[in-house]
Structures are given as structure tokens and as C-alpha cells.
């Protein structure tokens, strides 16, 4: 049964419309019988309305320059950190991001793969995670081991049978694609400030089309309960096209030219 303490915890999400229907219904039921909580929710709504009516603030012209300079300093400082810090950040990052792919992959695929999602340290550290910046911006590439393949089964070593192993490997492949997309998307936010509105619109349309195709493909996979690597070929082709497009924009500085 929902109580006043729960209301305090859930009120923000409820007012923002972020609370799921079942818990919203339970909360509304409690508000019918608890005047204190009803008043609390009303206050919250009034506060949001007042905030929404405030005039937007124009930031000082030099604010962004200052932020940009600060970001550059921080990035340089991050680049000079040791590998241990990078490993740690990577672990944190993997844990943080796993909510996204698990949701996106659809019920069937996610259910099959979920058992592999929990461990965060299973991915080998990226070989070129962050080249250290030395002196006046000179980059010393991180010492990476030579290219090897196939990847050691490390993360999938616990698989009991062939089918489990393949599922685990598919999950790792999904994750590799999604991590690349996420990394490029994060970098894109910085790059696109220099684009024209037309370039940005064209780029966004191209990305949206690929996202739609990926969603359709994920639904198809979920519906079929498909669980072989070959089933994922169309999905991976879409991911590759998206990575190409993002790389052209982020690395090549060409926002509107597809492959």
C-alpha cells in the first residue's frame, strides 16, 4: 500500500509525467484520502507552473567561451590520468549504459541475453582508450597490445554450452556497436554547434531514418525470437551505416554526406 513517505519520493516523477501508469494510479488513490499529500502535490504543480512562466535568461556572450576553455582544460587533465583511472571510468560507464541496450533490444532478445548483462568488468580494456597528451598537445598513443583475434572468450568463459556461448557473443557484439554509436553521438554534440541549420536538419533526418530502421529490425528480431548471429546481420548493417555517418560528421567534419 502506498503511503505518505512514498508520495514524497514519487511526487517529482508524478508531476513530470515520468511515473508509470500503475504507480500513478496508486498515488492518485492515496491523494484521494490524504489531504497532506494532496496539498504537497498541488504545491509541486504550482512551483512547476511558476518556473515555466519565467522569462528565459540570456547568458553572457563570453559564458560559452569560458565553459569551452574549462572543458578543454579538463579533457587535457583527463588525458594525463593513468590507465587505472581509465579502467575505472570504463567500468562505471559500462554499468551506467547497460540500461539502454537492454531496453532497446526488445523483450525476446533481452530476456535471452539478460544473464550476461550484469558483469561490468567483462570487456577487455580498450586498447587505445585515451592517448596521453604530452607537452604542447603532443599525443603519445597508449601502448596497446598487438591486434589479436578472435577475442579471448573472457566474458563468455562461463557459458555452459554452445548456445549460451553464442548468445553471450551476440550480446558483446551488440554492445560493441552500441558503445561506438554512443561514443560518437556524445562527441557529435560538440561538433554540431558549427553546422548550418540546413546541414543539421539533413544529418538529423538521415540518423532518424537509420534509427527507425534499427527499431523495426529489433522488433522483427524480438517477434521471431531469433537467436543466431546470421539473424542479426541486417541490424548490424544498420549500425554500421550509422557509425559511418557519425564518423564522417565527428571525425571528418562532414555533417551531411553519407557514405
Amino acid at each position: 500500500m502506498i503511503g505518505c513517505r512514498d508520495t514524497d519520493r514519487l511526487v517529482t516523477a508524478y508531476v513530470d509525467g515520468d511515473l508509470d501508469e500503475r504507480r500513478s494510479s496508486a498515488l492518485r488513490g492515496h491523494l484521494r484520502v490524504c489531504t497532506r499529500c494532496a496539498a504537497r502535490v498541488e504545491d509541486e504543480v504550482r512551483l512547476r507552473d511558476a518556473a515555466a512562466r519565467l522569462e528565459p535568461l540570456d547568458p553572457p556572450a563570453d559564458l560559452w567561451q569560458a565553459i569551452d576553455a574549462r572543458l578543454a582544460e579538463e579533457e587535457i587533465a583527463d588525458a594525463q590520468r593513468g590507465r587505472l583511472w581509465l579502467w575505472w571510468q570504463r567500468g562505471v560507464d559500462v554499468v551506467r549504459r547497460h540500461a539502454i541496450p537492454a531496453g532497446a533490444l526488445g523483450a525476446a532478445a533481452a530476456a535471452a541475453l539478460a544473464i550476461w548483462i550484469a558483469p561490468s568488468g567483462d570487456e577487455p580494456a580498450r586498447r587505445h582508450a585515451a592517448p596521453a597528451v604530452a607537452g604542447a598537445g603532443e599525443v603519445e598513443p597508449a601502448a596497446g597490445e598487438a591486434g589479436s583475434s578472435p577475442e579471448p572468450d573472457g566474458a563468455c568463459a562461463g557459458a555452459a554450452g554452445h548456445d549460451e556461448l553464442v548468445l553471450c557473443q551476440m550480446h558483446r557484439s551488440d554492445r560493441r556497436y552500441l558503445q561506438a554509436i554512443e561514443e560518437l553521438s556524445a562527441a557529435l554534440a560538440d561538433e554540431r554547434s558549427a553546422w548550418s541549420a540546413e546541414d543539421a536538419a539533413r544529418f538529423d533526418a538521415a540518423i532518424a531514418e537509420l534509427d527507425r530502421a534499427a527499431q523495426d529490425e529489433l522488433k522483427r528480431l524480438a517477434a521471431r525470437g531469433a537467436a543466431s548471429p546470421a539473424d542479426r546481420d541486417p541490424l548490424y548493417a544498420i549500425y554500421r551505416a550509422k557509425i559511418d555517418l557519425l564518423s564522417q560528421a565527428v571525425v571528418g567534419g562532414v555533417p551531411a554526406e553519407g557514405r
Binding site: A72, E75, I76, A79, R126, R127, H128, A129, A130, P131, V133, A136, G137, E138, V139, P141, G144, A146, G147, S148, S149, P150, E151, D153, C156, A159, A160, G161, H162, D163, E164, L165, V166, Q169, S173, R176, Y177, A180, E183, L184, A187, S228, P229, A230, D233, Y236, R240, I243, D244, S247, Q248, V250, V251, G252, G253
Partner: protein
């Protein structure tokens, strides 16, 4: 060892499915390894080596070979014969499982041959131990055939073909040598090497280094998410190398009217060019140094972009070098 000779008649228009019968059975793992040196089964197990040969009917040609092997490595060698020869090395924990490993060969009347491998469904009373089944393929194909190969966790090696190749591996190295035509590759994880390739290269990698040595032709386009790109003796009209995290080193020749874009988001960019074409250079490093040969007389614009022109006469080669965090070095021979 036994070979099956299948005669392929294009006129009949039928698809033939051939699965070679076992040849060598129950070899202990201590037996000599097959040429591809695949991993041995985890413990004990049986190994079988099958050979299939497919010869087209008189006057017909094998124009395309599509290989789909999600169970191991693929090695393709071009040869001067018209026949297709396939060596399949199967590994399984026991005889029963071994018999479930199949290689299918489907010739199409249009001149394509599809080769695929599969693990047939079994009763699964007891699951197959992870990593205990494997099929490695060694394919000898007519040089003129166009090649397509896809593997899952395995290596792909292609050599001696003259009509291009399309190669995809999720996790494994790709090695391309002595190949003419358009070559397209993708690797999720693994090193890619291209040696003596004449034509066009489209290479994609998520994690892994790219190595180019003696590449000539129209185009090299490489997109690498994380890895180093090293190129030596590269002479193409259009070059586009984009690396998100990793450094790039390219040594080659600039052609008149050529376009060369070499960019890393997070890494050094080093380009060393020869050739007689005049050069028009644009270089930009947001957080690093840009070094150009002194006689280029570089000019730095307000936004940090360095431009320079060198040489005169003829159409200039256009060179665009970028990095966000790293240094840029352009040198000449």
C-alpha cells in the same frame, strides 16, 4: 582422404546440395593440424577433414563465391583452375556431434556458388560444450571469381583473386593480399591487413588496427572506431581515413587532382607524401601542434586552421588533415 567430384551443369538449372561424407574419423588432437591452424577442441574430441571439388560444365564459369561460415575461419586462395576446391576441417567433442556439423555447397545457374556451414539441431539431451565445435574452411577458387565471405568468431584470409572481395567478421583478423578489384571489409574486433591490393578498399573496424602496404588504385576509405592505421606505399587518387580513437600514419604518393582526408578525433596524424603533384594543404589540430615542411610557408588563420600550398603547375592534390586532440605532421620524401 577422399574427394568428391561434382559436375556442375548450368543447363539443368537445379540447385545441388552436397555434403561430403566423413573422411577421417576420431583423430586424437595430437594429430597434425590442418593448414589453417584452428584451435583444438577444449578436451579430446574428434576431427574430420573433408574435401569437396566442384567443376563447372564445359564453357561455364564460377563467377562468384559466397561463403557463410559462422563456426570458424575461412581462407580463400585464388588458383588458375576453373574448379572450386573446398577443404573443411570439422571439430566436435564426439562423433554424434560431428555428424551434425554440415557444409553445404549450392551452385546457382547464374554462376554463383554458395558455401555455408551449420550445426544441425539435435535432441540436446545434453548441451554441446561451449567452444567445442568448429568448422574451418580452406577454399581454392578461380582467380576471376568475386569473393564474399562472412564469419562470426574467426579469421578471414584472402589471396590471389582478381575480382575483389567482400569480407565481414564479427571478431577476428582479416588478411587480404595479392588482390585486385574492389575490396570491402568489416571487423568488429581484430586486425586488418592489406598487402599488395590494386583497386579500391573500403575498410571498417570497430576495434582493431589497420595495416596497408602497397596499395594502388582509385580509393582507400577507412573508418576505424578504435585502433591505429598504418599505411606504407599507398598511391590512390582518393584517400579517406577516419579514426575516432587512435593515431594514423600514412606514407605514400599524392596524385595530381587527388583528394586526401586523414583525420583522427583523438590521436596523432602523420602523413608523408611523395610525388610531383602540387599540394594544397589544410590542417587543423584543436589541442595539438601542426608541423609542415618549412618550404610550404604555412599560414595560420584566426580559427587555428593552417593552410599551405606547395608546388606549381598542374592540378593540385587536396590534402585535409585533422585531429581534435593530437599533433599533425606532414612530411615529404
Amino acid at each position: 582422404m577422399r574427394a568428391i567430384q561434382a559436375t556442375w551443369s548450368l543447363a539443368c538449372g537445379l540447385l545441388a546440395l552436397l555434403a561430403a561424407p566423413p573422411v577421417t574419423r576420431a583423430q586424437p588432437p595430437s594429430q597434425p593440424q590442418p593448414p589453417s591452424q584452428p584451435q583444438a577442441p577444449r578436451s579430446g574430441g574428434v576431427v574430420e577433414r573433408d574435401v569437396v571439388e566442384l567443376a563447372p560444365a564445359r564453357g561455364a564459369r564460377i563467377e562468384r563465391i559466397d561463403i557463410d561460415n559462422r563456426l570458424g575461419d575461412v581462407k580463400i586462395e585464388g588458383h588458375d583452375r576453373e574448379a572450386l576446391s573446398i577443404i573443411a576441417v570439422k571439430r566436435a567433442p564426439d562423433q554424434e556431434t560431428l555428424e551434425r556439423l554440415k557444409v553445404s555447397l549450392v551452385p546457382d545457374p547464374g554462376g554463383a556458388v554458395m558455401v555455408s556451414t551449420s550445426l544441425l539441431a539435435g535432441l540436446e539431451a545434453r548441451p554441446i560444450p561451449a567452444g567445442s565445435v568448429r568448422i574451418d574452411l580452406i577454399v581454392k577458387a578461380p582467380r576471376s571469381a568475386q569473393v564474399q565471405a562472412q564469419v562470426w568468431k574467426g579469421r578471414i584470409a584472402v589471396s590471389g583473386v582478381e575480382n575483389g572481395a567482400e569480407l565481414v567478421t564479427d571478431d577476428g583478423d582479416i588478411a587480404v593480399s595479392e588482390v585486385t578489384g574492389a575490396v570491402s571489409t568489416h571487423s568488429g574486433h581484430g586486425r586488418q591487413t592489406f598487402a599488395r591490393v590494386f583497386g579500391a578498399i573500403d575498410a571498417r573496424a570497430l576495434e582493431g588496427d589497420l595495416d596497408l602496404d602497397v596499395v594502388r588504385g582509385d580509393r582507400v576509405a577507412a573508418v576505424v572506431q578504435e585502433g591505429q592505421v598504418n599505411g606504407r606505399r599507398v598511391a590512390v587518387r582518393e584517400l579517406s581515413v577516419l579514426v575516432t580513437r587512435g593515431s594514423i600514419s600514412i606514407e605514400g604518393e599524392a596524385m595530381a587532382g587527388g583528394r586526401y582526408r586523414v583525420a583522427s578525433y583523438w590521436g596523432n596524424v602523420q602523413v608523408k607524401l611523395g610525388g610531383k603533384a602540387p599540394l594544397h594543404v589544410r590542417a587543423h589540430s584543436r589541442e595539438g601542434r601542426v608541423s609542415l615542411p618549412r618550404r610550404f610557408r604555412p599560414r595560420t588563420a584566426h580559427d587555428g586552421v593552417v593552410t599551405a600550398t606547395y608546388g606549381a603547375g598542374g592540378t593540385a592534390a587536396d590534402i585535409d588533415l585533422r585531429t581534435r586532440v593530437g599533433s599533425i605532421t606532414l612530411a615529404e620524401f
